[in-house]
């Protein structure tokens, strides 16, 4: 009898605690909304966990009382989330930190973001009237230990890699989309490059990290991926080699922008200013990503690294067509 009562009392206590916990802040419609109070804001991003977490931590430390509500997903999922937002009452983000300019240009076209950028010393090539590039992704080649690395991107279509090249999915990963844009626009590559890779038995995986894992495990001899992911795996001991093939590693800049409806959100603006400042750029660099601000030392980069980039503005007009052509080769999610 006594024990039953004790058991019931303890259950009741647990329940009350739970309900109290629920009341104190986690749930409720209020927390879902976009603009919110000036002290907190919602950030949508595709930037990797390893970078975004330290950046938010440093920002919140530098701006006591300000809080970032984070939604983090690969670019494909981010687009879907934004489309869902628009269907159900409007964009819920106050700021978006994308991983490539093409995706961001789309948001500008939809009238979702822009009209304000923070004052910054970041070079003009990474800036428009609507957004500022704050981090760079470099597309590199990764090979399993013992496999001869490709000297040029074209080498990946060689017989020695037959049936064993992995590429990330441009429908999911912005970096892959940027690389696709570069190769599609380069007449000596074009979409034929992808068609040959596919014909030789190339495999499309979803994210650049999947490519690194597949090559590290020896499932694939080589792959196209992003430098920070490849170097991180190599550093922790994965049996891979990283190369920057000719004509160069494809550089893709990830821009940040303020949502139009959040023009007076102080916290969101502070965050944009922070990540474009020297302080924020240093945190980005320390986390293993490549900063855009000159003079901030970034992670591993070969001394003679060649870097190429597509004409983003030109590409933004042909993006959908190129993606469709690519999908007819590799398929899409």
């Amino acid at each position: 009898m006594g024990t039953t009562r004790k058991v019931w009392v303890s259950i009741l206590a647990v329940l009350l605690l739970a309900v109290a916990g629920c009341g104190s802040g986690t749930g409720g419609p209020g927390t879902a909304g976009g603009s919110g109070s000036a002290k907190s804001f919602t950030l949508y991003t595709c930037v990797s966990d390893t970078t975004i977490n330290p950046v938010i931590k440093a920002f919140e430390k530098a701006h006591p009382g300000m809080q970032v509500k984070l939604y983090r997903a690969p670019t494909g999922d981010l687009n879907a989330r934004i489309a869902g937002d628009i269907r159900s009452g409007g964009l819920r983000a106050d700021a978006i930190w994308a991983c490539d300019p093409l995706t961001m240009q789309d948001y500008v076209g939809q009238g979702l973001i822009g009209d304000w950028t923070p004052a910054t010393d970041i070079p003009e090539e990474y800036r428009t009237d609507h957004y500022v590039g704050v981090a760079l992704l470099y597309m590199v080649a990764v090979t399993h230990e013992g496999v001869a690395p490709p000297a040029s991107w074209k080498d990946l279509t060689d017989a020695r890699y037959d049936g064993s090249v992995a590429v990330p999915d441009p429908n999911i990963a912005a970096s892959a989309l940027g690389a696709l844009g570069y190769f599609a626009a380069d007449p000596s590559y074009g979409l034929d490059f992808y068609a040959t890779l596919k014909k030789n038995g190339g495999t499309q995986l979803s994210t650049p990290t999947d490519v690194v894992n597949g090559v590290a495990q020896g499932t694939y001899k080589a792959g196209i991926t992003i430098a920070n992911s490849a170097y991180a795996a190599k550093q922790s001991g994965s049996p891979i080699a990283v190369t920057w093939p000719d004509p160069g590693s494809v550089a893709i800049y990830g821009p940040i922008a303020l949502a139009k409806h959040s023009a007076d959100n102080k916290a969101a603006k502070s965050f944009c200013s922070y990540v474009t400042s020297k302080q924020g750029q240093t945190v980005i660099a320390d986390s293993g990503s490549y900063p855009t601000l000159a003079g901030v030392p970034g992670p591993t980069e070969p001394a003679d690294a060649k870097i190429v980039s597509p004409d983003w503005m030109k590409l933004s007009h042909s993006k959908d067509k190129v993606l469709r052509q690519y999908q007819s080769i590799f398929g899409g999610r």
Binding site: V7, D49, I172
Partner: protein, 556 residues
């Protein structure tokens, strides 16, 4: 439902109280199920009328439905015999390590489904754990076959539990002993006595497993999506979570509706056919006697069962642990490569908050459901109440993906991305689970007791508290336990409904897996699995204490 209930007097003699409770239930069913479904139908028929034709004829649409049907049928064909074999074999006292086996057999359903899928990949996939150890791998684990086998492993304990309850209600050990005494061989007894008696329970198990497999999401997502195997549920996820094309949205809603139609088409006839058979009660009273069987057969059965469990969960969980402590992808899981780095990396404040959200959601949902489930069970003693009960039982058929899409369309505008909408989804999905045990326990109560207490002047509340609540406590707690554990690692609906800063821990694990963060996913999975198993053990202990203290014997 059963005729026995009609003789019972209602607990709530004041009509007002009864109607108020009934109204609560009806409003809840309307809000949780009817409005979302209606919103979906509206989206498909009115808002997107022009696009539906294109959606229905798109190549991915038919193939997803076909894949789902094939998978669900194959999973049923595999899981039901395995579950039933365990149930029949574990009746015999001649089976060594029987008690341990009875706990171990439940592991595949206690381990979160996405963890099971990820563990199988880590264990048997290319360059996986077994490949590292003995150079053997099963590339098919990431294919239709892999999805089917792992779903079957996951569903077998459900088939086992349903068969066990069928055995305890119907199988006549006296008959079996008599047949054995008369010289029948064990196989003959099984074939001619045990199996025919079990047939209705097996059919019910098959129905339940089919519906579960049809609505399953995490395992097909982890093992199938990468290789292009799409079921209806993973297609809905891809359409909603990874595509901004408006046509994808219509496709997702249409698929979600088709899914519920398929489930209803299977369950409707099965329920009508099976219910009379399941209602027959056992003729001989007393506790469940042990089935006859030989010592050698018992040893053999135990060995086979342990081997199965080793392959189905043992090796996969070991592989998960090995992946979590190995410092990098592509290196052998030997001690020189061990590290705790993955564990320290996932012990972040954000993951802690996600765990907190999962706990709060599971606790609140389970507690609200214990009340709602109890209310419905009490109301079932009159006709209107019985209709409400049937309605609640039917929510079991609704796949999680369908409910999530419906809630998103119905309420997304106001509460989209909040914990509240995830909580509502849990309530809608798990209601049937909370209601079933209470309803069953109430069936077994002598109706005279409440009547007597009311006649002797007790108020409804006193009658409820003194006569009903005590004996119903174990069932309420059991329902609470099932809902809590399910809610703790629910991912099908949460992954479609969560918003910025509102991830549950299960969503964090799924996202980490989809990003290819192998070591971190493994570490998170190990922690989540440990948490679930420890909580399950503690709560189970609590339930059996309550059971014993109110004098209900342990159902073994």
């Amino acid at each position: 439902m059963g005729g026995r209930r009609s003789v019972a007097p209602p607990v709530f003699e004041q009509a007002r109280a009864r109607w108020a409770l009934l109204a609560v239930v009806v409003v809840a069913v309307l809000a949780l199920v009817v409005v979302p479904l209606a919103a979906m139908v509206r989206t498909v028929t009115v808002d997107a009328g022009g696009r539906v034709g294109a959606v229905l004829t798109a190549p991915g649409f038919g193939s997803a439905i076909g894949t789902s049907l094939i998978v669900a049928a194959a999973v049923t064909a595999l899981a039901v015999p395995v579950g039933a074999a365990f149930a029949v074999a574990l009746r015999g006292s001649h089976v060594p390590t029987r008690t341990a086996l009875r706990v171990a057999v439940l592991l595949p359903v206690l381990v979160p489904d996405f963890v099971l899928g990820f563990s199988w990949l880590a264990a048997f996939g290319r360059s996986g754990f077994v490949d590292d150890l003995i150079g053997w791998s099963w590339p098919g684990v990431q294919s239709l076959a892999g999805v089917t086998v792992v779903l079957a492993v996951n569903a077998a304990p459900v088939a086992y539990l349903l068969t066990v309850s069928g055995l305890s209600a119907r199988a006549e050990s006296d008959l079996e002993w008599a047949a054995r005494a008369a010289g029948a061989r064990p196989w003959t007894v099984l074939r001619t006595i045990t199996m025919p008696l079990l047939a209705p329970s097996l059919a019910m198990a098959a129905t339940v497993v089919f519906v579960l497999a049809l609505g399953a999401f995490a395992i097909p997502e982890i093992l199938g999506s990468a290789t292009g195997v799409h079921t209806v549920t993973t297609r809905i996820y891809a359409d909603l979570a990874s595509s901004s094309d408006p046509a994808s949205f219509v496709a997702a809603v249409t698929l979600a509706l088709v899914l519920v139609l398929i489930a209803a088409a299977v369950v409707g006839p099965a329920d009508a056919l099976l219910t009379p058979g399941l209602r027959t009660t056992r003729t001989s009273g007393g506790s469940l006697g042990a089935a006859p069987g030989g010592r050698v057969a018992g040893r053999l059965a135990a060995t086979m069962m342990w081997c199965y469990l080793a392959v189905a969960v043992g090796i996969p969980l070991l592989a998960l642990l090995a992946t979590a402590v190995t410092r990098a992808v592509g290196v052998l899981p030997v001690p020189s490569n061990w590290t705790l780095a993955n564990f320290t990396a996932v012990l972040t404040a954000r993951n802690g908050e996600a765990l907190g959200r999962s706990m709060v959601l599971a606790l609140v949902a389970a507690s609200v459901l214990a009340v709602l489930g109890g209310v419905v069970a009490l109301l079932e003693r009159d006709r209107a109440g019985r209709a409400a009960g049937t309605l609640v039982a039917l929510t079991f058929v609704l796949p999680g993906s369908t409910l999530a899409v419906g809630l998103l369309i119905g309420y997304g505008r106001w509460i989209g991305g909040s914990l509240l909408i995830i909580g509502l989804a849990y309530l809608a999905k798990l209601w049937a689970l909370a209601h079933r045990p209470v309803s069953g326990a109430l069936d077994r109560l002598p109706p005279e007791e409440t009547h007597a207490s009311r006649v002797s002047g007790a108020t409804s509340w006193v009658a409820l508290r003194t006569v009903l609540l005590r004996p119903l406590a174990p069932a309420l707690l059991a329902g609470w336990l099932v809902c809590f554990l399910t809610g703790l690692h629910e991912v099908t609906m949460s992954s479609l409904l969560y918003g910025p800063g509102n991830e549950t821990l299960a969503v964090v694990v799924l996202n980490s897996e989809e990003l290819g963060q192998v070591g971190l996913t493994a570490a998170l999975s190990v922690l989540l699995t440990l948490l679930v198993l420890v909580l399950a053990a503690v709560l189970w202990w609590l339930v059996s204490r309550v059971r014993r203290s109110v004098g209900v014997p342990d159902v073994r």
